[in-house]
């Protein structure tokens, strides 16, 4: 079973997301990589060093600007004969183009796999992560999937370099969206819905000012997004765009630090899929403390500044 993993060229070279996606692909079979973008040199060079990669294809050109779904799908289809399966990270690029590949190949896509049980059996989240579903793809059909990268370990880089080959960027004549512009947030804090680390505060923070004063330095130190419980939002400490919970945002960061949040079930419903949960709370019986992987019981107004001091400065 040979998989073609499609990754996007990035200025930073090879992202951790791409390395995790490759880790997933390698669990299925042998894997080659297709790098697509306007400037692919760095990414493809590093991709070639991935432990276990067969070959790296590069499809580079100005037409790849915006990484539009039609161009990516057509380019992948140009290589489709050679592979048994196609994979991409379930990021906004992968989610955008990969179903087109599936439709063109007349197969179903398996979206956002979180586990590879076998080369034809995969597990994926359904009902907003409330359940896990295990599905089997039919034998003999091509495999198309997207990968929830947070569920896989990043593949290691070795020293050897796989061969790199250029392939054409295919642009359909008609029916292609035209890239106009892009604006990346670069704002103060990472977006709550996609942040890797979230620092979240509850009503115990006491006031708008104390909420801000206590959490902001910690969020900055960790390059984290800021979230809040419903009670904190209702009390006016922050706006409801920061509300995490059943009626707010549902998040699944790598690290969720809940500060002064008791953990009403409606809140837990919004963050229970976080990889690691830390609770800092006065009340050791609080549901959040019981749920957390690590809990620190005490006065948050003392502990949070202590925590900031104890964290290495350059962490992101």
């Amino acid at each position: 079973m040979t998989i073609l993993l499609v990754i996007e060229a990035e200025a930073t070279g090879l992202s951790e997301t791409a390395r995790r996606a490759f880790g997933a692909a390698r669990q299925i079979g042998s894997a080659d990589i297709l790098v697509v973008g306007t400037a692919c040199a760095d990414t493809s060079a590093q991709a070639a060093k991935l432990d276990g990669v067969g070959k790296v294809f590069v499809a580079e050109g100005t037409e790849a600007e915006g990484l539009t779904a039609e161009v990516l799908a057509a380019t992948v289809m140009g290589l489709s004969e050679r592979y048994d399966g196609f994979a991409a990270a379930a990021d906004s690029v992968g989610k955008n183009f990969m179903p087109r590949v599936a439709a063109l190949l007349d197969v179903m896509q398996v979206s956002e796999i979180i586990a590879v049980e076998s080369p034809t059996v995969f597990t994926r989240p359904v009902y907003a992560g409330n359940f896990r579903q295990t599905v089997e793809v039919p034998a003999g059909e091509k495999l198309v999937l997207t990968v929830r990268t947070s569920a896989f370990e990043p593949a290691a880089l070795g020293t050897a370099s796989a061969p790199i080959e250029t392939v054409p960027l295919i642009v359909p004549e008609t029916g292609t969206a035209r890239f106009v512009s892009e604006s990346l947030a670069g704002g103060e804090r990472p977006d709550l819905a996609t942040a890797r680390i979230i620092v979240s505060g509850g009503r115990a923070l006491g006031s708008k000012e104390r909420f801000e004063e206590t959490l902001r330095p910690l969020a900055e130190r960790l390059n984290a997004a800021i979230g809040a419980s419903r009670a904190a939002v209702d009390a006016g400490f922050v706006g409801n765009d920061l509300q995490v919970g059943q009626t707010g945002k549902i998040v699944a960061p790598d690290l969720y630090i809940a500060i002064g949040i008791s953990g009403a079930i409606q809140h837990l419903a919004g963050m229970k899929d976080s990889k690691v949960i830390v609770a800092i709370n006065q009340d050791e019986d609080a549901p959040m403390v019981k749920l957390a992987d690590y809990s620190l019981v005490g006065d948050l107004f003392e502990l949070v500044p202590e925590l900031i001091q104890a964290l290495p400065k350059s962490d992101a």
């Binding site: 183009f97 179903m108 979206s111 059996v121 969206a177 670069g186 830390v278 690590y294 809990s295």
Partner: protein
């Protein structure tokens, strides 16, 4: 401009879904069902385009059992003009839905198809994109803004880390994201009027589409419960464990 909006009837977004005790999957027998929230946004967007004079007709279509008529009536009550039900079993895969929609598109010749980005039950996030590919149409997924400019539409998309704007010549497919709009409530007078709007029923056979599923669902289960946590004595221990045990924070180099 004629707009086609496919909608899906799913387990109500605010209810906690449960697994049926016989292992057959999620228990939908007693569950309250509603229009998929992203589909509601799609219907709303289509109606707004009509109200702005950019479109003249909104046709909604749903694939599923007869009970789906209720979400179709809700869409009509929001302001859609016509509704179609493609009568089919409860679970039809995105690939099959896309093929059914291709035949509807060929019948109805819409200029624009707006769908929700994903259904909150299977979370596949495929149907809109597959439909676009089968039709050879351009697509703009995760739309947070949509504007028509003559024979083109400009869509702002939510992407990782920011926003992207694309332009597409019609006909095209758009899938909606949460921030595109806030759907209106159907008013009671409109609910009453919707009962008299046309609702057509079709079958996959007459449309010539094979809807047999490709994927085999082996099991649906709850995620494993979280392991019991650890009480840490102080900040130092917390940082240590986060760095060295959970390996979530990088240690100082």
């Amino acid at each position: 401009m004629k707009i086609l909006v496919p909608i899906k009837r799913v387990h109500d977004a605010y209810l906690r879904p449960r697994l049926a005790p016989d292992g057959s999957g999620v228990d939908l027998e007693k569950a309250k069902m509603s229009m998929n929230p992203f589909c509601e946004i799609a219907v709303e967007e289509a109606i707004r385009l009509c109200e702005a004079g950019e479109a003249s007709e909104v046709l909604v279509v749903s694939v599923g059992p007869g009970a789906c008529q209720d979400v179709l009536r809700t869409a009509l009550a929001m302001g859609a003009d016509r509704a179609m039900l493609i009568e089919a079993p409860l679970h039809v895969e995105p690939l099959s839905v896309a093929k059914l929609l291709v035949s509807i598109v060929e019948r109805e010749q819409p200029d624009l198809v707006i769908t929700g980005k994903q259904a909150i039950d299977d979370d596949s996030n495929q149907t809109g994109q597959m439909l676009a590919a089968l039709l050879g149409w351009p697509q703009a997924t995760f739309a947070s803004n949509l504007e028509r400019k003559g024979a083109e539409i400009t869509v702002t998309r939510e992407i990782d880390g920011g926003l992207q704007t694309v332009a597409m010549a019609l006909p095209a497919v758009v899938t909606t994201d949460l921030r595109l709009n806030e759907p209106r409530y159907p008013s009671l007078p409109n609910v009453m009027k919707a009962r008299r709007k046309p609702l057509e029923t079709l079958s996959p056979d007459t449309l010539g589409v094979d809807i047999a599923p490709r994927l085999k669902v082996l099991k649906t289960e709850e995620p494993p419960p979280r392991k019991a946590g650890t009480r840490v004595a102080d900040v130092a221990e917390l940082v240590d464990r986060l760095q060295n045990e959970a390996r979530i924070l990088r240690a100082e180099s």
